[in-house]
Symmetry: C2
Subunit: 488 residues, 2 copies
Amino acid sequence: MEELHIQNTLSGEKERFVPIVEGHVGLYVCGPTVYSDVHLGNVRTFMSFDVIFRYLKFLGYKVRYVRNITDVGHLVGDVDEGEDKIGKKARLENLEPMEVVQRYTNGFHDVMRLFNIQNPSIEPTATAHIIEQIEMTATLINKGLAYEKNGSVYFDVLTYAEHEPYGELSGRKLEDLIHNTRELDGQEDKKNSLDFALWKRAEPEHIMKWNSPWGMGFPGWHLECSVMSRKYLGDTFDIHGGGMDLKFPHHECEIAQHKGAIGMKPVNYWLHTNMLTVNGRKMSKSEGNGFTPEELLTGDHKLLDKGYSAMAVRFFMLMGHYSSTLDFSNTALQAAEKAHQRMMTGWKDLLDIKASDSNEVDVDALRKRCQEAMNDDFNTPVLIGVLFDAVKAVNLVKAGQQTIDEYSKKGLTQLMYDYLFTVMGLREEGSAGTDASLEEGLIQMLIAMRKEARVNKDFALSDGIRDRLAELHVQLKDGPEGTSWSKG
Amino acid sequence: MEELHIQNTLSGEKERFVPIVEGHVGLYVCGPTVYSDVHLGNVRTFMSFDVIFRYLKFLGYKVRYVRNITDVGHLVGDVDEGEDKIGKKARLENLEPMEVVQRYTNGFHDVMRLFNIQNPSIEPTATAHIIEQIEMTATLINKGLAYEKNGSVYFDVLTYAEHEPYGELSGRKLEDLIHNTRELDGQEDKKNSLDFALWKRAEPEHIMKWNSPWGMGFPGWHLECSVMSRKYLGDTFDIHGGGMDLKFPHHECEIAQHKGAIGMKPVNYWLHTNMLTVNGRKMSKSEGNGFTPEELLTGDHKLLDKGYSAMAVRFFMLMGHYSSTLDFSNTALQAAEKAHQRMMTGWKDLLDIKASDSNEVDVDALRKRCQEAMNDDFNTPVLIGVLFDAVKAVNLVKAGQQTIDEYSKKGLTQLMYDYLFTVMGLREEGSAGTDASLEEGLIQMLIAMRKEARVNKDFALSDGIRDRLAELHVQLKDGPEGTSWSKG
C-alpha cells in the first residue's frame, strides 16, 4: 500500500490513516498498573506500539506519544468494589503506596530499556491528574450522565445509551450486557449494575485518597485515561491503543465518559494488540504457564528449554502481527532465535561484501515492498520476509552468484539499517563495549589448538593451554561431546 | 565516632543522630527542576546524598528516601514574578510542557544511572500534589499567615515572624532582609517585599495551571517540598538535604510554611552540600566554565584536558567532603583518576594475594576506622584514606613484606567490598556483561604462546596463532616494543 492503512477496531475496517493535524500524530496507549512486575503481555503490547511509534516517526510525522502510568484507582477484579490494588499491596508489604509505585515503575522502565522500547513523549500518572478527574466527574453530573450515591459517583450507562451507542467499540449489545451482568455485593449504590464508578468513596483505612466535592475518595480506573489523553492530545486525537483485554470495559467506558463530557468522539483510530499463548493455551499466572520477561531471558522456567536474548525475543514478537495471538513454544522461540541470528549475520555480511561495476540487486523494489508491508497495518511479519529476501541477495553476492554495485550496496545498507534498527527497533547485541563472540571465539580457538597438540602428543603445549586458561579463571572440561568451558 | 553524628545546618552543631522512629530514617532531598539538562552541581548533591542513603542502609536503618521532581512552579530568577520556567521553555520549543518535563526527567535518570546513583524510594512530582498544595495554602490563610491578592496568595512573613524565628536556618536577620530586599516590578500585590508566593494567578497564556479557590493558577515553588515531605515522611521527619544555594529562600520558606500550617518543626537535621568551583572560581554557565556531566566524561570542553570515566568522577567527588567546596581542575581530576585506579588495582590484588598461616594485618582496626570516618558526618575523604591504608597492607603482602591469613584476607575483602561498593557506590568498570580483561588476557596469552613458539622455531604454531586470530578479526602487529593487537 502506498499510504498508511490501519485496522480500526472501532469500524472493524482497514482505513487509510489521515491525521487530524497534517504532519502530526497524537498517540495514546494505556500503560502499566504499577502494583506488580510488568508481565510479558505488557511487553508485547508496548513493543508493538513502539514499532508503530517508530514507523510513524520514520514516515516523517511529529508524534506525541502518551503512555500513562496507573498508580491508583485500578480495582481488584476489574469491578468497582474491593480495595484499590495498590493500596492493598502496600499494606501487605507495610509500605507507603507510592513506594510500591516507585519500585515497580523503576522495574517497568528497566524492562522497557532491556527490550529497546523507546520512552513515550509523555508518561503521565493518574495521581497527578486527580483535579482533572474530579472536574470531568462534576461535568458528567451536571450533564445528567452521572449521579452521586453515598460519596461515590457512577456513570449512568442507560441514560447515556439513550443518545449514544454504548458498546460501539467492543460490539456488545446493551440488552446482552444488562442480562449478563451479575449483581455483586457492594454494588447496591448503583442504579444499574452496568454503571461504572467515576469516583469512589474512601473508607477511613484507605491510604490513597483525596478530598472532592463528594468527600474523601479516589477516582475510578477508567477516568484517568480520558482526562490524560484529552489534556495532552486534545478533544479528539488520532490513535488510541492498548491490549485487547482493555477493549471492554475500559475503552468502552473511556468513549462514554469522553463523549458524555465533551460531546465529541475521543479517538479516530482504535488499535488493539492480541494475547499471548503458551503451547496453544492462554498465558496466565494461575495456570502456571505465565513466565516473566526475566524468565524468558534466563530460561529459568519449567516450560522453557533455554533462555533467549532480549533482541531474539523482540524479533520473535515482531515475527507475528500485533493483532494475532502469539504462541510461545520452545520450537517457535528457537526458530525465531535462529532467524534473528541469520538476519543479523546477513546485516554484517552486507557490510563486508565487495561491490562491483555491474548490479543485479533491485534495492528500490525491496524498499517499496518494505514500505508496503508497514503501510499495511504495520505488518512486521511481511516486513521481515522482505528483509530476508534482502539477506538472500547478500548471500548470492557473497557467493559470487550475483553482483551489486557501490550505489546499490549503499542503498541496501541504508534500507536494512532503516528497517532493522530504526523501525523494528533491533539493537546489535554485544556491540556495546566488549564483544562476547570474540571471547567465545578466542576460547574455542584455544580448545582447538589444545586438541591438536594432544593429537600431536605435544603435551607441554596442551597442558600449557589448560594451565594458562586456568590463570585467567577459565576452566576447561573434557566430556564425551568434546570440551566445554566455564568461568570460575 | 562510635555513633553517627551529623553536622546540622539548623543548629550549626555536629549532633549525634537519633532517628524519630527507631530503626527507620525519613530522608528528603530537593530534586532537580526538569526544564533543562541536569548540571554537575546536581550530580554532586545527589551523589552526596546517595552515599548518605547507602550508609544509613548499611548501618541497618530502613530508609524512606524521597527526592522530588520539580515539574512546575519554579519561577525565573527565584523571585515570585515572571514566567514559570517550564512553561517558558515549552513555548520556545513549541512543545507541551509535560513533553519538556518528560525529556529532561529521562535525561536526569540517565545521568543518575551513569554515576551509579541509586533510585530514591519515592520520586514524587510537584504536579501530582496540586491538591495538597492548595490545601496547605488554604490552611495558612485560615491561620492568618497568608493573604490573597488578585488571585495570588502570599505568605505573610512579618506576621509569622511575630511568633517564629524566620531566618533560623540561614542565619539571616529579619531587619537585614527587609532592608536588602529590592522592590521588584509586579510585586505590588505583596504587603511586604519579603512575602513569598504560595499560589500564583495564571495569566490566560500560561499553559500549566489548575483551578483553585482563588481562580486559575499554579503553586509557588517552595510549597511543593513542604507538602510532599510531609505526605510521605510525616509531620516531623529526620533529615532534609539539598544544595547550599537552597538554604535561603527555599528551605527557610519550607520551615515557615510548615510550622505555620502544622504547628511543628518539619525536620530534625538539615544537611547542605557545598558548591563546585573550576580552577578556584564558581562554576556557572554564564562564566563559560560550567561543563556538563557528559562533557566531563568525554573531555569535550575547552577547560578540560581529557575525559574521565564516571567512576573516576565519582571517586573524585567523594575525595572531598560534601560540605566543602569542590574544585575542578585538570590536575585534581587527573590525580583523582590515578588514585581511583590505584584503589581498584588494590582491590583486584587483594583477591589474588596468597594467604599464609601467620597474620600481620589488623582488619578490625581498619574496619573501626572506616566506620568512624563515616560516623563523623559521612566523611568520605577520611574513609578513602583508611581504604588506601588497606591497599598499602595488600601491597606489602604482595611484596612478601607482610603476612595475612585466610581469615583476615576474607575479612579485608568483605571490608573493602562494603566500603568501596556498598557505601561509596563505586562500580567495577567494564564488569557488566562480558569481561574486557578476559578478552585482553586471552589475546595476551596467545601473543605469549606465539612468541615462545618462535623462540622454539615452531613456525607452524606461531603462524597458526596469527592466522587463526586474523579469522577472528584480531590483527597482530610486531613492533620494537613487542606485539600489539587491534580489532579490524
